[in-house]
Amino acid sequence: MKVNGFAHPAPSDPRRLLSDHLRHDLGLTGTHVGCEHGVCGCCTVLLDGAPVRSCLMLAVQAEGHDVTTIEGLAPGGSQLHPVQQAFHECHGLQCGFCTPGFVMSVVGLLAQHPHPTEEQVDEGIAGNLCRCTGYASIRRAVTRAAVLLAPLTPDPSPLGGEGANPADRSSSGGEGAGTSP
């Protein structure tokens, strides 16, 4: 399987969950395990671009597929992915434990619906639980992420004007008004 673009052999233990393989064999601890029964969504990763729960998959099932984890979104260690930037600007996280799962779900959601309706936003994040934010700021983060991603996607009709220029991404505007430390 490929993980964040690099090829890795499957684990020898056939019982190994994909979540445990990523965390404990590959050291990619950004994928979190919150329930291990497929409800909380903390362990969400992308499998060939679509969100899946890595706690409900055996690692060997990912053989021949492309896995993207949270670490694969901003690999350079400096520039945030637009979805991550939107979560930062909109205070879309508090304790941060559910956040990697949310971010992966939203990346998947916006790939499918670059300009989601409110219902599509709620549906797109319905498989992820957050105990801190009350979801209000996460909803705003999704909408903001769609705006930040708009110039990068082929559809020329972004949701709003603010932040439409990629150069504005790290500056203030709309919900993101404020100062980044």
Binding site: H32, V39, E71, H88, H91, Q94, P100, D122, G134, S137
Partner: protein
């Protein structure tokens, strides 16, 4: 503070980048070379004698390092689980608790054995092979039945099931006021048992180094210094031999304040096998064993005049303590002391009864006692209004403590520091469009639709707390807070606080305070917490909305000491009198000559050099403790609008308005986030969540996230938030707490809205959770 550029600004959080990119460090992200993994064998029954434990097969299973039962820990661990006096000074019976059961198990999930193996999977496999022979005893579940004479006991050795029975103010105190009454309303109000469900379950990694005789523990905790205190005591170590590191904490909500059995067993095992030992809780273990919240009911009577004047209240609180006294389980009777809410009463008589049952112990959960108080008083006030056919707004305004009454000594002698309750209510009503909503309600009622409007005018006491109040409540240690501020030669500022963060954003807000006060850029300031090896000798943790109002103020005081020393040094450099030196905008100058100044960093550098004033030591650092003179008292007004589907009984939140007052605000973005999250946790209690046990045998029926309904985004209404600002006179920053406000306010706003919606059917009271099934049955019954 001279110039406020950062305080009050919406600064994006400094902790975000690492957390958003998966580079946070939560407990399961830590490993040590040579770690053995623990799996616990837990009682599958609620109450039984343990006849025998057969570990033969498990001991021989692949990868097993050892199998341990209670006997193996005798001599390794001493004492019993700590039970703070909290608000109940006298207890009747507090069962002894050893972290692992030997002869009797008293709740489903209690530990009876532990397996260590080379991998987590091997430990879990071997744990399944252990055979325990139980002799089942009756499970004590119902609080009233448990109090009856001759009832089965939750602990065989106990005299009965009464953990405490404490009267704050006797009944006869309110007799005269009840005699004056035109109306008396009575209700029994339930508080459903809740599981805290932080997204990150608990976990412990312990490494005892035998030659150094030093224990390092990593665990997911809101309260690392208290864990060090308790664990060192139990293991017979000095506090200096134990280092507790609580890294990024994935939520707590009160469930990570107290020490747990695993917090003692895992380090003891590490010492026994001379290897690091690790345990990570599963979600089912979390729902089954992490302390629960609420789990109470109240019998309440309110006396009032026919013009709506509230006279007196009688309240008896029944607390389901669970099988053992939670460390801070007796905090929850604070609900009695807060039962009067934001109103004036001639008298309140209150009694609390703590009942031992065969369920997991209860302990503080977000709000702890104060959500229950708000729910109680706001429900009762609505019942009086209904009886008198008064608008719920009018009865509240008639009885509020008025702005000129503060500081106001309430019925239990607590001094409410400040408030303007009518102002926040008016603002909330305006934002909700109250008058139009009432019109809409009347129209919809004609169409057979059920729209309800619910109010909650809440108040809170938080910021624990004054030493005089808290030292007796904890058994000796006052819940003050400590801070240390260290300035390096190049002017970098390192701040240590004894509070911790599990999502509250202290790295940002506390740095805002320091950067503003010192006039330095935010990125010159670094906040450190969560490690007992760093900073002051003791810290007091994060709970009870105390971090800013106590810890933040301690930091501000330490910064003040640093500035004072800087002024002395600057005076020496300027050859001026100390009292003539001014510090503003991050630099020192002599009064009247602002052009000749020394930047804070220059003075910091000089403090490490030579030629200091006589008697001055090198360096620029300070320690401060803040012992607040009083608690702080946030308040606000919430309005919930609910429509109930006549066909299905489903309650849909149409609108939610929250106007809150937490005094001065450091970071409005973070305050809004706390309110959103708190409100949703209370909506969850009102509509969805409940820990359900089989009442006949104590089997947990909601042990997964499939059965225990934490809401997702689709269940949450749009919010309208606003503020009033009434600075607290209790501290120099004028701040109050906001971490629990939403949870304290919201459950009753939702339930009052539901009761209001169903009032045409003659339904007066609905208990939580107001599930579609419950409402559908109530409506069906009412229509008969």
């Amino acid at each position: 503070m001279a110039v406020s550029q950062l305080v009050g600004a919406k600064i994006h959080r400094r902790e975000d980048p690492r957390l958003i990119t998966g580079h946070g460090h939560y407990i399961d992200d830590f490993t040590r070379q040579g770690t053995a993994y623990a799996a616990f064998v837990r009682s599958p029954v609620a109450h039984a004698r343990v006849k025998s434990i057969d570990v033969t097969d498990a001991s021989k299973a692949p990868g097993v390092v050892g199998v341990y039962t209670a006997r193996d820990f005798k001599g390794q661990l001493a004492g019993t689980h700590p039970a703070a006096p909290a608000f109940v000074a006298e207890k009747k019976y507090v069962p002894e608790r050893f972290p692992i059961a030997e002869k009797e198990v008293t709740y489903q999930g209690e530990i009876v054995a532990v397996v260590l193996a080379e991998s987590k999977g091997q430990a879990a496999d071997a744990a399944n092979m252990i055979q325990v022979d139980y002799d089942e005893l009756p499970a004590v579940m119902d609080l009233e039945k448990a109090l009856a004479k001759g009832a089965p006991k939750a602990h065989e050795a106990g005299p009965d099931n009464v953990c405490w029975d404490f009267t704050y103010t006797p009944l006869d105190l309110t007799e005269a006021a009840f005699k004056e009454a035109d109306v008396v309303v009575k209700e029994r109000i339930l508080q459903n048992r809740l599981a805290p469900v932080p997204m990150e379950p608990r976990g412990v990694l312990a490494d005892y180094e035998g030659f150094d005789k030093k224990l390092t523990m990593w665990l997911s905790s809101q309260n690392p210094h208290f864990i060090r205190l308790f664990v060192s005591g139990a293991l017979g170590l000095k506090e200096s031999q134990v280092r507790v590191i609580s890294p990024d904490v994935g939520g707590g909500f009160g469930s990570k304040i107290s020490p747990y059995p695993e917090d003692y067993l895992v380090p003891a095992l590490s010492r026994m096998i001379a290897r690091p030992v690790k345990w990570i809780e599963t979600r089912t273990e979390s729902i089954q064993n992490a302390t629960h919240g609420r789990g109470q009911f109240y019998d309440c009577e309110v006396a009032a005049k026919k013009d709506g004047t509230l006279l007196a209240m009688r309240v008896v609180q029944y607390v389901d303590v669970g099988a053992y006294h939670g460390t801070f389980g007796a905090f929850q009777p604070v609900a009695c002391l807060m039962a009067g809410g934001g109103y004036k009463w001639k008298g309140i008589s209150a009694r609390t009864i703590g009942v031992l049952t065969n369920r997991v112990p209860t302990d503080p959960y977000r709000g702890a006692g104060r959500p229950e108080a708000t729910h109680l008083v706001e429900r009762m006030v609505d019942l009086v209004a209904l009886e008198l056919k008064m608008d719920p707004v009018d009865i509240r305004k008639k009885n509020f403590i008025q702005p000129q009454d503060f500081p106001f000594t309430q019925n239990f002698g607590l001094v409410v520091d400040s408030g303007d309750y009518e102002k926040s209510l008016d603002k909330a009503l305006q934002l909700a469009g109250y008058a139009e909503l009432r019109k809409k309600q009347a129209d919809l009622r004609k169409q057979g639709r059920y729209l309800g409007i619910g109010l909650s005018t809440w108040i809170e006491l938080c910021g624990f707390g004054p030493s005089a109040a808290t030292a007796p409540a904890t058994g000796g240690i006052a819940l003050v807070e400590s801070a240390q501020v260290r300035v390096t030669p190049t002017g970098a500022v390192i701040v240590y606080t004894g509070t911790h963060s599990h999502g509250q954003g202290h790295e940002t807000t506390f740095s805002q305070i320091v950067a503003d006060q010192l006039g330095v850029p935010l990125d010159s300031v670094e906040l450190r917490h969560g490690d007992t090896a760093e900073g002051t000798s003791f810290g007091y943790g994060t709970y009870g909305s105390r971090s800013l109002a106590v810890g933040g103020v301690a930091i501000s005081k330490a910064v003040g000491k640093v500035i004072d020393k800087g002024k002395k040094l600057a005076a020496h450099i300027f050859e001026a009198a100390e009292e003539d030196v001014v510090f503003e905008h991050g630099s020192f100058h002599v009064k009247g000559s602002p052009d000749k100044s020394k930047a804070f960093g220059e003075v910091a550098f000089a403090s490490y050099g030579m030629g200091l004033p006589e008697g001055m030591e090198q360096g620029l650092e300070a320690v401060a403790y803040f012992d607040p003179p009083n608690l702080v008292w946030p308040f606000g007004a919430h309005v919930a609008v609910v429509e109930i589907d006549a066909e299905t009984g489903s309650a849909k939140l149409e609108k939610y308005v929250a106007v809150d007052d937490c005094g001065n605000i450091i970071n409005p973005m973070i305050v809004d986030g706390q309110i959103h999250g708190g409100v949703v946790q209370a909506i969850a209690q009102a509509l969805y969540e409940e820990v359900v046990y089989d009442e006949s045998n104590g089997q947990l029926k909601t042990g997964t996230m499939i059965d225990y309904l934490v809401p997702s985004a689709g269940e949450i209404p749009p919010f309208i938030l606003d503020k009033t600002i009434t600075p607290s006179p209790t501290n120099d920053l004028g701040v109050k707490g906001i971490g629990e406000a939403g949870t304290i306010a919201a459950s009753v706003a939702v339930i009052n809205a539901i009761c209001d919606a169903l009032s045409p059917l003659g339904i007066k009271h609905v208990d939580m959770p107001a599930t579609p099934d419950k409402l559908w049955h109530m409506m069906k019954e009412a229509r008969k």
